[in-house]
Amino acid sequence: MSASEDLRDLYQEIVLDHGKHPRNLRKPAEANRIGHGYNAMCGDKIDVYLTIGSDGRITDAAFQGQGCAISTASASIMTETLKGFTEEEAKSLYQSVHALCTEDDAVLPDSLDDDTADRLMVLAGVRQYPMRVKCATLAWHTMQAAIDGQANEVST
């Protein structure tokens, strides 16, 4: 695979789009789970806001912070994906996404709809770039900390 083909895998159109125009980049007043993430390698910071409804399902997911195209796109895609998930389902998806970013033969759970799966699959582009895996997983790591009620900043 040539260098430019490698890079097209990493910086796909959908990553560039979410990186430049992140969805759910806001701080909802009603959020009841908040996580603070920090990537010690590059200094990027992210706050993840989840709103869990009375039925135990995520009704809103949002984030704020600054980061590279990969971490911003990953956070944006994550917040689009999580609505309707229970906390346990969200944590389970974190495990799947982490595997997707690090393991060559990783697959996403069948329970995801095709659109969601396609969107998440673009994160697999970081497999070729071990130094960038933390960029892709920071938001997810922070989301898990928010659910677990960790008040402290978490580092990847």
């Binding site: 490698d6 910086y11 590059c42 980061g67 960029c135």
Partner: protein, 421 residues
């Protein structure tokens, strides 16, 4: 032993000083990365090693290795002589008045920690002031914060101007009767600013403060004369000077070093040990507990030989010319901002690209064979001061050439194309 009168430059034969010839000394520069020619522009993080250093270390390990300062057999004596000759080589490099003023450490960070844990713990008390600068990397901040926590000393950073130069008016207002230590970089690792070291030393001397200069980013670019600069301490690391990792240098004035308590206890630093009491050797051995990095010290001496054979009269203008060319080429790129534009600058091009994060820039440059640092450059307070999370940093060494700069510029063009900027 006085070494000041020996000028090694008068004795060493001149190499054929062209960058094409010099590049052949660095085996790694012949390799490719991702199928592309390697443009290594991260010397400020660590320099590549010339064959002369690799071979000196390899030959010592293959043919001459033994522990030092203990064996009566020939190999140990020869190894001891080589190790102490390396110390003398460093002394001549810095124009120290004696080899006894050269303490070997693991790196710059450890050298600063020796001064903090030994000199500062003994000499500082609550309310005493440590003056730093906003340009410092973490190695010249955190050791002093640890001392602050122990002693109640106060840390005061000298401000910088927006172009990365030091605000000397602020330095004059900060350095006063309470100042006990002024510690600062000779050259900034993140921005390349060359600090006004003589003026800072003069200000410190006027109030009887002790001075530490961090020369990590200076000794590979310019001749340093510690007797002319007159700090109490001057520190640097081997691996940024084309030498190996694991070896650093703490220069200290003899009287200052010998008034300091040991840093670590163990073998090699003692005169006599009983269970009741131990007496310590004078400097530098007092600060070198245990078996040191023998091979690395020999590698460092070989690196100094190499650098001085090329000579700062060649290195200085060569790097200056490349820095000027690269600065002009980068400034011509739409959306690129250079950080650190002080008139007094060495080696470093720190930049951001509108709409792109430094890590995306560095990943794409890497795919073009261009190695640059991206991030906070171990200087969070400086990044906060500049209001930028991260920059990409290209840094120049004696082996860089115009093709490296061309490749950097072409690489940035590729970044803009791939990220659709």
């Amino acid at each position: 032993m006085s070494l000041a009168s020996i000028d090694p430059r008068a004795r060493t034969p001149r190499l054929n000083r062209t960058v094409e010839r010099i590049r052949q000394d660095f085996p790694i520069l012949a390799r490719t990365v991702h199928g592309k020619r390697l443009a290594y522009l991260d010397t400020a993080a660590s320099a590549q090693k010339p064959e002369q250093v690799i071979e000196a270390m390899s030959r010592f390990q293959r043919e001459e290795y033994a522990n030092i300062h203990r064996g009566v057999y020939a190999l140990s004596q020869a190894a001891t002589d080589r190790f102490e000759a390396a110390r003398g080589r460093v002394a001549r490099f810095l124009n120290a008045s004696s080899a006894d003023e050269i303490v070997f450490t693991r790196n710059t960070t450890e050298a600063i920690n020796v001064v903090a844990q030994s000199w500062a713990r003994k000499n500082l008390k609550a309310g005493d002031e440590i003056v730093l600068t906003e340009l410092e990397h973490h190695a010249n901040i955190v050791p002093w914060q640890m001392i602050r926590a122990e002693t109640g000393a106060v840390i005061k950073p000298i401000r910088i101007h927006d172009d990365g130069s030091l605000d000397l008016d602020h330095a004059r207002s900060l350095i006063g009767p309470r100042t006990k230590l002024v510690a600062f970089a000779h050259v900034s690792n993140a921005l390349g600013t060359v600090l006004p070291v003589r003026e800072l030393v003069r200000l410190a001397r006027a109030v009887d403060a002790t001075v530490l200069i961090d020369g990590s980013q200076a000794v590979q670019h310019m001749a340093v004369d510690v007797q002319a600069l007159d700090p109490d301490f001057y520190v640097f690391t081997g691996h940024k000077l084309y030498g190996p990792t694991g070896i650093g240098v703490l220069y200290g004035k003899g009287a200052v070093l010998n008034a300091m308590p040991p840093y670590q206890g163990g073998g090699d630093m003692i005169e006599r040990v009983t269970f009741e009491r131990t007496t310590f050797k004078p400097a530098p051995h007092r600060f070198e507990a245990g078996t040191p990095a023998i091979t690395e010290a020999i590698g460092l001496a070989a690196a100094i030989d190499y650098v001085e054979q090329i000579g700062f009269d060649w290195i200085g203008p060569h790097e200056e010319e490349l820095l000027t060319e690269a600065t002009q080429a980068l400034l011509a790129i739409d959306g690129l901002k250079l950080w650190g534009t002080s008139a007094q600058k060495a080696s470093v091009l720190s930049f951001t690209l509108d709409g792109a994060h430094a890590h995306d820039v560095a990943t794409i440059l890497d795919q073009q064979g261009v190695a640059v640092r991206a991030g906070h450059h171990c200087a969070h307070p400086l990044m906060d001061r500049l209001g930028v999370a991260a920059t990409s940093r290209a840094s120049i060494g004696l082996y860089n050439d115009r093709a490296d700069i061309d490749q950097l510029v072409a690489g940035i063009t590729a970044v803009k194309r791939i990220l659709k900027l």
